[in-house]
C-alpha cells in the first residue's frame, strides 16, 4: 500500500509517464489525420469549417403530416424525434438516399409521445439564409430534401 499514498515506485512512475506521453502522442496524431469517428480523440472540429461571408447558412428542418391535416413544421430535436438537427445532418446523405429511414423518425416520435397523433408523413427540409459581407440579407429559402409517407 505504500505506493498508494502518493510516493510512486519506479515502475509506477514509468507506467504513468508512458501513459501521459501516449495520450499526448495520440492527440497530436489524431489532430493531424483523424476523423470524428475516432472519438474521444481529436480532431476537435466543432465549428472548424469556414463559411463564405457571401454564401448561405443552411440548417435542416422537419415537416410532418398529421391525419386529416396539412404539413406543418415541428422542432427537430431529441424530445420530439430522439435525435437532434446535427445528428440528422450528420446522416443526411443516407437519409436522402433511403427515405424509409426518415420514417423511423415518425416511429421514434410515436414511442416518445404515445398520446400524440401519429405522423403519416415526414419531410426533411433545407432552410438556408443568404449572407452578404457576413451579415444576413434577404429571405430564407426552403427546399424539400426528402419525403416519406406512411404506406
Amino acid at each position: 500500500m505504500n505506493a498508494e499514498v502518493g510516493e510512486l515506485t519506479a515502475g509506477g512512475r514509468k507506467a504513468r509517464s508512458a501513459a501521459a506521453a501516449l495520450l499526448v502522442g495520440a492527440l497530436a496524431a489524431s489532430a493531424l489525420v483523424g476523423v470524428d469517428d475516432w472519438f474521444p480523440l481529436a480532431p476537435f472540429r466543432m465549428y472548424a469549417t469556414a463559411n463564405s461571408p457571401n454564401g448561405e447558412i443552411a440548417v435542416v428542418g422537419l415537416e410532418v403530416l398529421e391525419p386529416g391535416g396539412d404539413w406543418r413544421r415541428v422542432a427537430l430535436r431529441p424530445s420530439t424525434v430522439g435525435v437532434s438537427v446535427a445528428e440528422v445532418e450528420g446522416q443526411l446523405p443516407r437519409l436522402v438516399d433511403d427515405p424509409e429511414l426518415i420514417g423511423l423518425l415518425a416511429d421514434a416520435h410515436a414511442r416518445l409521445h404515445p398520446d400524440a397523433p401519429s405522423w403519416e408523413g415526414v419531410r426533411l427540409l433545407r432552410l438556408a439564409q443568404p449572407l452578404r459581407d457576413g451579415a444576413p440579407e434577404g429571405e430564407r429559402t426552403r427546399e424539400v430534401l426528402a419525403e416519406w409517407t406512411a404506406p
Binding site: L27, W38, V88, R111
Partner: protein, 291 residues
C-alpha cells in the same frame, strides 16, 4: 523526488513537471466533483442520451470504439441498463471518493461504462468535443492514490493525475485551433463561421451581433489566438493559472449566453487547476475525523 529513470535533461524536466506533487486532498476533491458530475450529466444536463433508446437501431452508426469493442446495439433495454448501471457505479465511486479512495476496479468500471454511454450518445451522426479531459480523468483518477479530503500531504500520484486532466483540458482548445486550420484554413479567421453559429442557434443576446460582422470576425481572431496560446497555462505559476481559469470560465459563459453551447464536463476539468484542497478546511471537525 526524482525517479530512478532519467533520460537526460529533457527526461528530468518531463518527470519533474508531470509528477509535480500537489496536496493529496486536491485530487480527493476533484474525484468527488467528477463522480458527482456523472449522475448530473446523465440525468439532468444531457437526458437526450437516454432518448436514443427510443430511436431505431437502424439510425445507430457506431463510432470506431463502438465497432472495435463488442458493444450491443443500443435498444431501449440496453440503453436503460447502461444508463442506470452508470448512475449506480458513479454514486458508489462518489461514496468511496468521500472516504479518500477510488478502488481501481470500480474506477475503471465507471470509466468504461461512461465510454459506452458516449458511444450511445455520439453514434447517431454527431460527436461533441466537450469531454476529452473528462474521459481522461475517469481513466487516471483510479491511479491517483489515497486522497483524504483533509490530507494536504504532497502527493506525486495526485500531481500526475491532475496534470493529465490539465493536459486534456488544454488539448481541447489547442487541437480545436489545429482543426480550424486543418479544415477551414486561414480563411476560417475571416469566414462567417460565428455568423453560422448564431443563425443556427443564437439567443436574443447574440442576434444583434449578426448585424456587426466585423465584431464576429474579430472574435474569430481572438478565439484562434487564445486557443493556440492555451498551452501556456500548463507552465505558469499557480496564481496565473487561477486567473486564466477565471478568463476561460468567462469565455464559456459568454458562449453559452450567445449560442447556448456549454462544455460542462470540460468546465469540471478546469477545476483541476484550482487549490481544491482548501475546501477540506471548511469541513466540520467530525467529518474531518471520518475523512
Amino acid at each position: 523526488m526524482t525517479g530512478g529513470e532519467t533520460g537526460g535533461k529533457t527526461g528530468d524536466w518531463w518527470t519533474r513537471w508531470l509528477f509535480a506533487p500537489v496536496p493529496a486532498a486536491r485530487v480527493g476533491w476533484f474525484r468527488l466533483l467528477v463522480y458527482a458530475f456523472i449522475p448530473f450529466d446523465v440525468l439532468v444536463a444531457r437526458p437526450w442520451g437516454a432518448l436514443h433508446g427510443q430511436v431505431s437501431t437502424e439510425l445507430y452508426q457506431p463510432l470506431l470504439i463502438g465497432r472495435v469493442l463488442p458493444l450491443p446495439a443500443p435498444t431501449a433495454a440496453v440503453v436503460a441498463v447502461v444508463h442506470w448501471a452508470l448512475v449506480a457505479a458513479s454514486l458508489t465511486a462518489l461514496v468511496f471518493a468521500a472516504r479518500g479512495r477510488t478502488p481501481r476496479v470500480l474506477g475503471l468500471g465507471v470509466a468504461l461504462l461512461y465510454l459506452q454511454w458516449m458511444v450511445i450518445a455520439f453514434s447517431y451522426g454527431k460527436v461533441d468535443h466537450d469531454r476529452f479531459a473528462f474521459i481522461s480523468a475517469l481513466f487516471v483518477l483510479p491511479f491517483a492514490g489515497l486522497a483524504g479530503l483533509r490530507d494536504e500531504a504532497p502527493s506525486a500520484s495526485a500531481g500526475w493525475a491532475l496534470r493529465v486532466v490539465q493536459i486534456g483540458a488544454v488539448a481541447t482548445y489547442f487541437f480545436a485551433a489545429i482543426a480550424k486550420l486543418r479544415f477551414g484554413g486561414l480563411a476560417w479567421l475571416t469566414s462567417a463561421t460565428l455568423a453560422r453559429a448564431i443563425i443556427r442557434r443564437g439567443t436574443f443576446l447574440a442576434d444583434p451581433l449578426l448585424q456587426i460582422p466585423w465584431a464576429l470576425v474579430a472574435s474569430q481572431f481572438f478565439i484562434m489566438a487564445f486557443e493556440l496560446l492555451s498551452p501556456v497555462i500548463l507552465f505558469v505559476r499557480e496564481r496565473w493559472q487561477w486567473l486564466m481559469v477565471a478568463g476561460l470560465l468567462l469565455f464559456h459563459l459568454s458562449v453559452y449566453a450567445t449560442i447556448t453551447i456549454i462544455f460542462l464536463p470540460h468546465l469540471v476539468c478546469l477545476m483541476a487547476f484550482l487549490p481544491l484542497e482548501r475546501l477540506g478546511r471548511l469541513l466540520p471537525a467530525r467529518a474531518a475525523a471520518a475523512a
